[in-house]
């Protein structure tokens, strides 16, 4: 679908739909991403947010950090609420009473992988014209760093601490993109806050489709991942450079890696700077480290394989 690509930062507007003065943590990865997304999107959008860091810290009466229309209803239903807004506007426009503005739903990994998976699946299956963004900080951060379906294997969280018999989380990170792509939607992509041009063009591409689109955005959390807040964007970059979080898109079933990583940095570079993963470098967790590496490698190989397999389409 056609869209106007972004080439430089100068062409972006100075007026933003996210205003400062919100209570997100200093150095929060989520708002870096949300800002980039809203700068790429048209000015007139309607935003839905699930309960979580983004919702609670941007709107607490009487403060709101949103300039665009915004709604929060509950934890697991951002996709359902967005569906309702989209459908109502469709009817209103058809009857001559309103206009179909773009609708963007934001849900954390908790509100998307776990409690929100049903509503997301339903919205994708029904084909609503909306963009769902999962901002993934890989745990239930707002409630104090508990594990989610998006927490990687071997990660420390308060409900999966490492100890004498456990190396951290013993389950693997759910393949969210796989689940989303299985719904056959026109556009789905992964993105990182470190690669702003890649993210912004994916947002514009996503919004150009008359159907559901999905962006899985990696948003490092300095509180939960245990690193210096100044390093947020660097860690997001390392995630890409070590192939931990491959940046790709799936457009009508065709996979394409948008930021190839031909010579990946060793995964230890990513691990050693985060308190939640550092323990994997200790000798007693050698097996867990091997498992962690294997998952990263397998996942990247899978994406490469899918890229090859679907390239002839």
């Amino acid at each position: 679908m056609s869209y106007k690509p972004i080439r430089t930062l100068f062409e972006l507007p100075t007026e933003e739909n996210l205003a400062p003065g919100h209570r997100m943590c200093s150095g929060c990865g989520v708002t870096v991403g949300v800002r980039q997304i809203l700068l790429a999107a048209p000015k007139d959008v309607i935003v839905v947010t699930a309960t979580g860091c983004l919702e609670v810290s941007t709107v607490a009466y009487p403060y709101t950090a949103w300039r665009c229309p915004w709604v929060h209803v509950a934890f697991e239903n951002a996709a359902a609420v967005a569906s309702g807004i989209e459908a109502a506007l469709k009817a209103l426009e058809r009857k001559g009473y309103g206009k179909r503005y773009p609708v963007i739903a934001f849900g954390g990994d908790g509100g998307t992988y776990d409690i929100g998976i049903q509503a997301l699946s339903g919205a994708l299956e029904r084909g609503h014209r909306l963009l769902y963004v999962c901002y993934d900080n890989e745990a239930y951060m707002n409630t104090g760093i508990q594990r989610s379906g998006g927490t990687p294997y071997g990660t420390w969280t308060t409900t999966t601490p490492f100890g004498k018999v456990r190396p951290g989380k013993t389950e693997v990170k759910k393949n969210l993109m796989g689940i989303v792509v299985a719904h056959g939607i026109p556009y789905a992509a992964t993105a990182s806050i470190s690669h702003w041009k890649d993210l912004m063009n994916k947002v514009r591409k996503a919004l150009s489709y008359d159907g559901p689109s999905f962006i899985h955005l990696l948003t490092p959390c300095n509180r939960g991942w245990r690193f210096d807040p100044a390093q947020t964007t660097r860690i997001a970059k390392l995630a890409v450079e070590t192939r931990y979080f491959p940046l790709y898109e799936v457009e009508n079933g065709v996979y394409r890696i948008t930021v190839p990583v031909p010579r990946p940095k060793p995964i230890e570079e990513f691990i050693k700077v985060q308190g939640r993963l550092k323990h994997l470098l200790r000798p007693e967790y050698a097996d867990a480290l091997a498992m962690f590496k294997k998952q990263v490698e397998d996942h990247y190989s899978y994406i490469e394989m899918m890229t090859k397999a679907t390239s002839s389409k």
């Binding site: 000015k43 007139d44 959008v45 309607i46 839905v48 919702e55 609670v56 709107v59 607490a60 009466y61 009487p62 709101t64 949103w66 300039r67 665009c68 229309p69 915004w70 709604v71 929060h72 209803v73 509950a74 697991e76 239903n77 996709a79 359902a80 609420v81 967005a82 569906s83 309702g84 807004i85 459908a87 109502a88 506007l89 469709k90 009817a91 209103l92 058809r94 009857k95 009473y97 309103g98 503005y101 049903q118 509503a119 699946s121 339903g122 299956e125 029904r126």
Partner: protein, 392 residues
């Protein structure tokens, strides 16, 4: 005025009303015995007779969530459910009333698991009676049709802006066919007009909805809903007057049948009110001074009307089709007892639970209740709940 009369089931009648009300969005999930409502609406969609969007959601929780989102754009929204579906929506019921979305929802009252029962009782709505929605119970199919139209008018008032449930009994009303007089399409459309909501999701005038509140302001937001409920109570009669002008029908907060000079009354809700009415009619022919109060408006509770009808009565039976486990009395009985006590009224009262899980309540059963009232000395009415019809 060409009046169209059709033989419709309760579910079908609700669907016809929705078709006429210029509804913009219906988001619903099927559950017995509400399914015919969504199926009929789907037929209307296929024939181009329903111009709104029908969204077949993947659960009732999403159904109401979708409705809330849609309602906040300023659209007119409807849904329907029953039993487990209503229970699944429970958290969003509070969100809908807190966000002041004038959604109209038909509830086809059905028992709650476990054990599973697809049959009628009021456990589902009573289990959520504190959610801040206006709650209306209908006695017959005509009333089900009428109350859908009525409820949009009441809900969308600026001084109300609360969602409404219209409760109809599973199978007894949802599936039984009765004669329904439809109001003309244009008359309904003109009566309702278009919803006019100031605070909407609109980029031309943006707002944030669903903020987090703190201990120093949350209470005030909840109190706004209390005031809205009171306004709904005050506005009810005015909306009924307007509705009776276009339909010739008026129902009242309480349906009062031979209550003026009655000595003994049955208070009852839903389709069984019709059954009790029939028993009362037969007994009146025998010269017995009995009457029936069909409680139509349950929330906000019509305290003043209840006190008026209790004046001078020798004894009353309050019939509940739901149990409040562990409570001194079931829901309706609790409300009536509390209203009497607050107003120094001491009409002797017996309270009953009947018809759970769809157990039939016959004309003879209603007679039996009246006879219990008449045969016992009112000063010796038992205070404990009588579980009428249970094989203990």
């Amino acid at each position: 005025m060409m009046v169209q009369k059709l033989a419709l089931s309760g579910d079908e009648a609700v669907a016809y009303a929705v078709k006429q009300c210029d509804v913009d969005l219906v988001a619903a999930y099927p559950i017995t015995p509400q399914t015919i409502i969504v199926e009929k609406i789907s037929e209307f969609v296929a024939n181009g007779e329903f111009e709104g969007e029908f969204v077949p959601v993947e659960s009732e929780h999403s159904a109401l969530s979708t409705c809330v989102g849609g309602s906040l754009t300023g659209a007119r929204v409807f849904t329907a459910t029953a039993s487990q579906g209503l229970a699944l929506m429970h958290e969003i019921l509070y969100a809908a009333s807190g966000l002041r979305t004038p959604i109209v929802m038909a509830i086809v009252n059905r028992a709650l698991n476990s054990p599973l029962s697809i049959h009628n009782d009021h456990a589902d709505m009573m289990g959520s009676r504190d959610c801040g929605w206006i709650q209306i119970y209908v006695e017959n199919v005509q009333e089900a049709y009428d109350r859908i139209i009525f409820s949009f008018k009441l809900a969308e008032r600026d001084d109300v802006l609360l969602p409404v449930t219209v409760n109809l009994d599973a199978f007894f009303l949802s599936h039984n066919v009765e004669s329904v007089e439809l109001i003309e399409d244009e008359v309904v459309k003109k009566f309702l007009g278009r919803p006019k909501r100031k605070y909407r999701l609109d980029p031309d005038e943006p707002y944030s909805f669903g903020a987090m509140a703190y201990p120093w302001n949350c209470f005030e937001f909840k109190y706004q809903q209390v005031v809205a409920m009171k306004n709904a109570y005050r506005a009810f009669d005015e909306v009924e007057d307007g509705f009776s002008r276009i339909s010739g029908r008026k129902y009242g907060k309480l349906g009062k049948y031979w209550t003026d000079d009655a000595d003994y009354l049955i208070f009852i809700m839903g389709s069984s009110a019709g059954t009790a009415k029939h028993a009362a009619r037969l007994m009146r022919q025998e010269g017995l001074k009995v009457g029936v109060v069909s409680v139509k408006l349950y929330r906000p509770f019509p305290e003043k009307e209840v006190l008026e009808v209790l004046e001078g009565k020798k004894g009353i039976a309050v019939m509940d089709r739901s149990i409040s486990f562990g409570a001194p009395t079931p829901p309706l009985a609790s409300d009536i007892r509390s209203v009497m006590f607050a107003n120094d009224m001491k009409v002797p009262m017996m309270n009953f639970v009947y018809g759970m899980g769809g157990r039939d309540f016959s004309v003879q059963d209603a007679r039996n209740i009246f006879e219990m009232l008449m045969k016992k000395d009112p000063s010796e009415y038992p205070k404990e709940t009588i579980y009428y019809g249970v094989k203990a």
